[in-house]
Amino acid sequence: MIELFNISIQLGKRQVLEQVSLKINKGEFVYLIGQTGSGKTTLLRLIYMDVFPDRGNVIVDSYSSSTILPRHVPFLRRKVGVIFQDFKLLPDRNVYDNIAFALQVIGAPQRTIKSRVLSVLTRVGLHHKRYQMPQRLSGGEQQRVAIARALVNKPFILLADEPTGNLDPQVARDILHLLENINRSGTAILMATHNYDLIRQYPHRTLVLENGNFSREINPEELA
């Protein structure tokens, strides 16, 4: 599935990660916590190969960071969904087109695009808002659109970088509920977060990044 072997990476002058190893199994739900600047975002970027490690190796599905050809990176990204705190929707297209865009730019045929977009819209509960523009949606709805876009290509894992960072507690819980649903249907989830309340309410395996390394794997009840 996903495996990091002794990863070290420096960005600018800063040694962000040092000798990090980690394994995420098929269909797992994993939280990633740690202080700001501890390297959570960097770890996620390593997985979708936005950055490459200086030492060590990242294995994602059948791809390995040490041997992958640059022209194969897009094909790896089709198997890995990503969502962010700031949603990253295109403001000049409606909900449907935002999601369809993800399939159009990988050259999917028109027929599959329509059925896939409509089905994923139903899944995130936004079928009725498919012709709305993103600005007219609430934060929670926008994140659902982003989730739909990340899922439309049927990835085996969804990487979420503080997906609830901009959302009210109740809305955050709704998003977590949705993510758990998605997880139950087989998609693995790796979520970086600062929100310990959420982890306590929806407990899963939790990794702590400290000093550029995994200091421990903790029991969610331990969280202060």
């Binding site: 979708y48 190969m49 936005d50 490459f52 640059p70 022209r71 990176v73 897009p74 094909f75 790896l76 990204r77 089709r78 990503v82 990253k88 295109l90 000049d92 865009f101 993800a102 159009q104 730019v105 990988i106 050259g107 045929p109 028109q110 876009r149 990340a150 290509n153």
Partner: protein
Amino acid sequence: MRLLFLLKEGIAGFKRARLAATISIATITLSLSLIGMFALLVHHLSAQFQQTYGRIQLEVFIDPAIDSAQRQALEGRIQQLAAVEAVQYVSPEMTLQRFQQDFGDDLLTVLEGENPFPPSLQVILKKEYAELEKVEAAVEAIRALPQVDEVIFQEKFIRLINRYFFIGLIVATTIGATIFFISTMLIFNTIRLTIHSRKTVIEIMRLVGATHFFIKAPFVIEGLLQGLIGSLLASGALWLMSDLLRAFFLPGLTIPWMYFLFLCGTGILLGLLGSYFSIGKYLKF
């Protein structure tokens, strides 16, 4: 299908970033109009220059005792020289008349009815022989002919003309190259801004796994269209300008159709390369 999508995206890019696209097109139009105008002016002036000064004229004074058959034979021999375009006989009477026109009837009084001018031949050299060494060679060849007394040509004038033409050419080329360089930079930069304003789209395309080809194609198509529109507008502007100039300042101004071809080619190429290289910056992996 894919091609259709890429084309649609490329064209839609115009509507999505209308201001940026307008600025790009305006920049291309202005730059290319400037380049076109400058090239046209240089072309016109150098053609005029050649027309006026490019044909060197020699005065060949001949033996006054020459009879008309001998003279015609001499004319024929001169005409046969490779450098010579035309030979014309100028009789002493014609010379006198010319002087009379210039200096008035007083001249006749001074000369007391005598005509002191020898017969001469006016020799015009071909355009390609406008350089000093070639002129000198032609003069030597004519001097060597029998019954030729003296050949006069304006050495200093030729030197001057040659030098100014050369300097003019260098100055024009330098200015032209500078305008071209600045225009290219300007066009590249505005295109870069256009693309920068859409870095979110590029980022999303990367994240969802679009290949570099798919990410680049709409931008390259858009750049190409901007180049095409800009150069068509510039061609129109150039045509209008040349019409105005012809009407008011430069009656002989003509504009070869190659110019429009060149403008369109340059516009398309700049738009295409500009977007291709700008987008590269956002696509490491």
